[in-house]
Symmetry: C2
Subunit: 733 residues, 2 copies
């Protein structure tokens, strides 16, 4: 790729970003879009934007940028929790790392690369220069200038390790502080027990009761057994199933409002308005198809049907116990002891784990048996490998696009079109990463699905597991698949000959620098800007309002899609670290990406996303691990490239670097990871002591008994009520 | 190697075994040897053999074989604990496995191998036939007979997995039973805390006291801080240092009797006997050198010196606190909770682990700091690698011996000697394994030393860690180094090209069958028989008695050298499993080895070894793991060999086998391993409940306070006593 192609790509994407920003600045002021752009405030019913039309609404105003920029950590913590703080700190951390790298890279390494003569460039014209002349490939073989690169690798590694340590330290101390500041919460006192053995003639409830009163007599409080509510859930959430499938793409609807709730809401609204022309509609999909009916009768009948079915099913479901229960204790320390000490003589029975927050529990697929979960885990593992291998197909196609010659041999009729400079520049510079990006959109939902099958019983755990899976997937399919282009078989072969890895990577990685610069610009810049614009939710809500007659109350605040975003950010980190000394030209583009990301996500966390759960910053270890992986990868490439560049001494001196980095990682894991796995006794006991003086504790403990009740089992009674809205709200609360 | 060479080796070793057995049967009856052959009974002062000379003493009697054979598991459990039972069950387990393998191998596979025609044998004479004609190499390429081998691999794997599961199940249930049957013991109530942070101006004692009274107020009982007693230990055990170094070779002396004890013992004895001619001796090494002195004066002076020094040092050592303490709790559950839950906010401080038994504590090198232990671990890891690499030198030399041609080219003057059939048969058949065996004797003590540096604070942990290290060392240096003969570099290269491994192994492993058969016979048979004979202790005790004037009381019962023996047994298991379908001729020899081992070690556990500690059978997971490794190695070789033998279908069908085996292993680890790591809450609480009705508990808890006192800090007072023996015994108790 030559410099002008890169500039084309940058130009297109800058234009797109600017367009998105402008559109966003205008659209967010329209009252109709408030559920798209400020759902958090709508949900809290304090939106200031429901004013009438005025001219200002059509003027783009960048005030939100300033607002997002000024967002302090304390403010973010109070409105979105520690997870959001950690999420934003990933951007800050990356900015620190790549500002340092950028200074070294652009002001020291780039000039050295540029004055090299290794690559015989045809044109002395800067604009037609290949991007490779800015990379290490251009430095003369055996040149002593390479020692500067060598020192840069060492200095950069030391700096990143220092930052990683400081960040881990900061986040872990923040985690403890947040715990101390937290109010008593049900999940702190509760343990999820699975694999409960049931003797013949007794029930799960009896079994749990007798076990815990015997072995935890001083701390045991109460329990609630999980029941098979699959059929009930299908009855209650018929409609939401479709919505939940589309959720991942549109980020609009979450499964938590039942169908009955919805029908009831509509009914109440219809009655309140009492407008005859609105009372007729169609009963089919999205209100577009089907017979014309009187909506009031139709809604009432629907509600009645659901209620009858649900009541019948609820009464029968009480019998269907799953051998799992949420067991609550009188103190946090008691619950922690039950989690950490193996309970039963058979380790596959009485398996305990910390309970998730009540609204974080993932009730569908509630798996209880140890064996079943073990088998599911293996199946999911295999499924992930298959998915990764299958995904190589689009990657190979994308790679074909960057080699136009190959494309012409495949489709000869395109050759006339491809000879136009602009078209070829668009195709090589922009299209490949766009296709990759589109394909990548479908992966996070699949990973979520796999993680939920795996046996996690909390949305937070599912997201964390999906995040890790998607990270591996991204690194493999975006980085390695593109670097080691060619058949999938060839890639696997490389990793079966470990001693060849440094040389193979050293040859392949620098040559893909231009592709990844383009990738940062398209996938990084534009997708971040489109995140702000929220195109899919915008269209989906518009469609619903127009055709399904649903209004603004019919929505839910989306939660932060950590599992989709964190791996992306980590991938850009990987690109930055590995290309830091190979092709420093990537660094300014990365810095722009991180700045953009910081502003956009601060804004989104302020206005759009509301936390569905609080894991206390446990996403950080994933980011830390990915950074360490990036460093080690950089070292391996460095070993290879100094060998290729005929500077064997530098190559040998690089060998200790990956080992030292891994040792550093090991130390960090020992020093900080335990804090992220569980809270230490010191904190638990201190909090328990504090609670003893709290007069509201007895009431809290009483409420614990019902905290973990399957929402499908909540009593349902709408049709009998006269005034709906108040009691509905009570029900929802 | 031809059959006759093997028979020579078998003949020599059978002769040696028979000699050892006969000598043992005679020597064990001599009263002077009773401390060598029956130290357990001497220690318990109920030996029946201190009779006068009679003729029967010179007749070899095999009565001890019957006694050992009849030893029941309950009996063994009661006299030597669960560890010894597990140790003996390794032999029983191996016998089961290889009886099954032997039946299939000798009656089905061996005839098939023998009738093959792949190897063109020169002689039809059975005795001069190469051993290779009994191995799979002799089966015709592509022959359908190989499907029998294929089925044998599958059936054998299934059978071994079944046995492994049953054994794991049995031992884990036995472990729980033993725990239920155990009396309250200090280590069940105690936790070892390391990395205690001390604020300025306060002491470790205060720090521990305040932390545990605050955070474990309901269960905390008492604590004793560890002190720096290095200098004190050197004062007390001056003489024993040399003895402890020689311990590993002679299995006679253990560090636990102090020098003062010894001098005092000698003094008392000398006074009691009051024989003037015995009262003069020399004061130098072993009583052989130095000036002639009056022993009574000499001993008294020595004792006085030690006492003075020790008292002075003891009074000063109280100040030298190490940031580590043994913290005792009121209940087992309380102690378990403190172990399992992270204590401090900083995971490198307040590091808890289950306390070892009081007499299992390894006081020297008591390392307390987290960072120091972490660094030591890394250093030990590197040291192990270096040791393993250095050890390849003798292995390569040994390999030279099996290839006589090479030896002749190295040392041409030997050619006339080597042409003698018997000499060449001895050299190829016997010498290599003897050299290997001698070299291997020095490795277990080195591994023990490395493990103790690593930061383990209990003898049992050190032995377990050394056992694992020595196992890896043995598998690598005996199996792989011999199989992949040639330079060390070549071996490492093989493992850097993973996809080549099956083919390389399939070519190399069968060709070494004859070497390993000889190895089983020499190293297995003879070393087991020599274990019975205890040559080194015999000589060492004879020397001491003759020259140093020490008598029978001056000895200690040796403990079972698990770390040296278990890896050896596991190595033979590895050989049996991998050669089962390659060269089934090895199996009968292995069966003889395991029978021999069973008898010999039953006898030794009865008469010689006394348990120094009780880990509750936690050596079993190591054996289980090594068996799984053997199976997977067999599968990899099978994949390679069916490929070599032009039966690719069988090769492909073998591929799932290692994965299934590893899945089985994973399940077993999840199902059983937690039981071996810690006792579950169910057991702990049950035992605690039982104790509540025990009237002796308050007294036991009172004693807990002083249970973990460094032996170096015990008050010392000999010279002032008039009658020594009784008070000495009290002191020892």
């Amino acid at each position: 790729m030559i410099l002008s192609a890169l500039l084309t790509s940058v130009g297109i994407n800058l234009g797109l970003c600017f367009l998105y920003f402008t559109l966003y600045s205008i659209l967010r002021k329209q009252p109709g879009n408030v559920v798209v752009y400020e759902p958090r405030w709508v949900a809290e019913e304090n939106s200031q934007h429901r004013s009438f039309f005025n001219l200002e609404r059509l003027l783009s105003s960048p005030g939100w940028v300033a607002r997002a920029w000024k967002l302090s950590e304390e403010e973010l913590l109070s409105i979105s929790g520690l997870d959001a703080v950690v999420f934003i700190r990933i951007f800050i951390f990356s900015l620190k790392v790549f500002t340092f790298a950028g200074i070294i890279g652009v002001f020291i390494l780039l000039p050295i690369n540029f004055v090299g003569n290794q690559l015989s460039t045809d044109s002395s014209d800067l604009i037609n220069k290949s991007l490779d002349s800015f990379s290490i490939s251009n430095v003369d073989n055996g040149s002593n200038w390479l020692w500067i690169h060598f020192s840069a690798v060492y200095i950069f590694t030391a700096f990143v390790c220092y930052l990683l340590y400081a960040e881990y330290d900061y986040i872990s101390s923040k985690r403890i502080t947040c715990f101390y500041a937290s109010k008593p919460q049900p999940h702190q006192f509760t343990v999820l027990v699975r694999g409960i053995p049931v003797s013949l003639g007794s029930s799960v409830t009896e079994s749990v009761e007798s076990f815990f009163t015997e072995y935890h007599s001083s701390t045991y409080l109460s329990h609630s057994v999980v029941r098979q509510t699959g059929k009930l859930q299908r009855l209650l959430w018929q409609e939401t199933v479709i919505a939940s499938l589309s959720y991942e793409f549109t980020n609009v609807v979450m499964i938590s409002q039942s169908d009955a709730d919805k029908w009831y809401r509509r009914l109440v609204k219809l009655k309140a308005k009492n407008l005859p022309h609105k009372r007729s509609g169609r009963d089919g999909f999205l209100g577009l198809f089907g017979r014309k009916v009187d909506l009031l009768d139709h809604y009432e009948k629907k509600l009645q049907d659901i209620e009858d079915n649900v009541r019948m099913e609820q009464s029968s479901v009480v019998e269907k116990e799953v051998p799992a229960a949420f067991v609550s204790f009188k103190s946090r320390y008691g619950a922690a002891a039950a989690v950490h000490i193996e309970q039963g003589v058979n380790p596959t029975e009485w398996v305990t784990e910390p309970a998730p927050e009540p609204n974080d529990v993932h009730w569908p697929f509630f798996s209880a048996s140890f064996l079943k979960r073990w088998i599911c885990k293996i199946i999911v593992f295999i499924a992930c490998i298959v998915l990764t291998v299958l995904f190589l197909i689009p990657v190979v196609i994308v790679q074909g696009l960057t080699n136009l010659d190959q494309l012409e041999t495949w489709f000869p009729f395109l050759s006339s079109l491809l000879s136009i400079t602009f078209v070829s520049e668009v195709i090589t510079g922009y299209l490949p990463s766009l296709i990759l990006q589109l394909f990548q959109r479908i992966v996070p939902p699949i990973m979520m699905m796999l993680s939920s099958v795996q046996g996690h019983n909390a949305l937070s755990q599912i997201q964390k597991s999906a995040c890790f899976k998607f990270l591996l997937f991204t690194i493999w399919n975006v980085f390695f698949a593109n670097v080691l282009s060619g058949s999938a078989l060839y890639q696997v072969n490389v990793f079966l000959e470990p001693k060849e890895i440094p040389l193979v990577l050293a040859e392949a990685v620098p040559s893909q620098a231009s592709f990844f610069i383009a990738y940062v610009v398209t996938s990084g810049w534009t997708s971040t800007a489109s995140e702000l614009f929220r195109l899919f939710p915008l269209i989906s809500i518009f469609m619903k309002k127009k055709f399904a007659g649903k209004d603004d109350d019919d929505f839910e605040v989306p939660s932060v899609p950590y599992h989709g975003q964190i791996p992306k950010i980590a991938l850009f980190g990987l690109l930055g670290v590995t290309y830091f000394f190979l092709a420093p030209l990537i660094l300014p583009f990365l810095l722009v990406y991180y700045c953009l990301g910081y502003i956009v996500f601060c804004n989104q966390l302020l206005n759009v996303y509301a936390p569905k759960f609080e894991t206390g910053g446990t996403f950080w270890p994933i980011v830390h691990g990915s950074m360490i992986f990036s460093l080690v990868l950089m070292h391996i490439i460095a070993i290879g490239i100094f060998g290729l560049k005929e500077l064997p001494l530098a190559s040998i001196f690089c060998v200790p670097l990956p080992f030292l980095t891994l040792l550093f990682h090991d130390y960090c894991q020992k020093r900080f990871l335990p804090i992220f796995k569980a809270y230490p006794a010191e904190c638990l006991v201190k909090k328990d002591h504090d609670d003893q003086n709290d007069p509201s504790m007895p009431e809290f403990l009483d409420k614990l008994v019902t905290a973990y009740r399957d929402p499908a089992l909540k009593p349902i009674n709408y049709s009998g009520r006269s005034d709906g809205h108040d009691s509905l709200l009570q029900h929802a609360a």
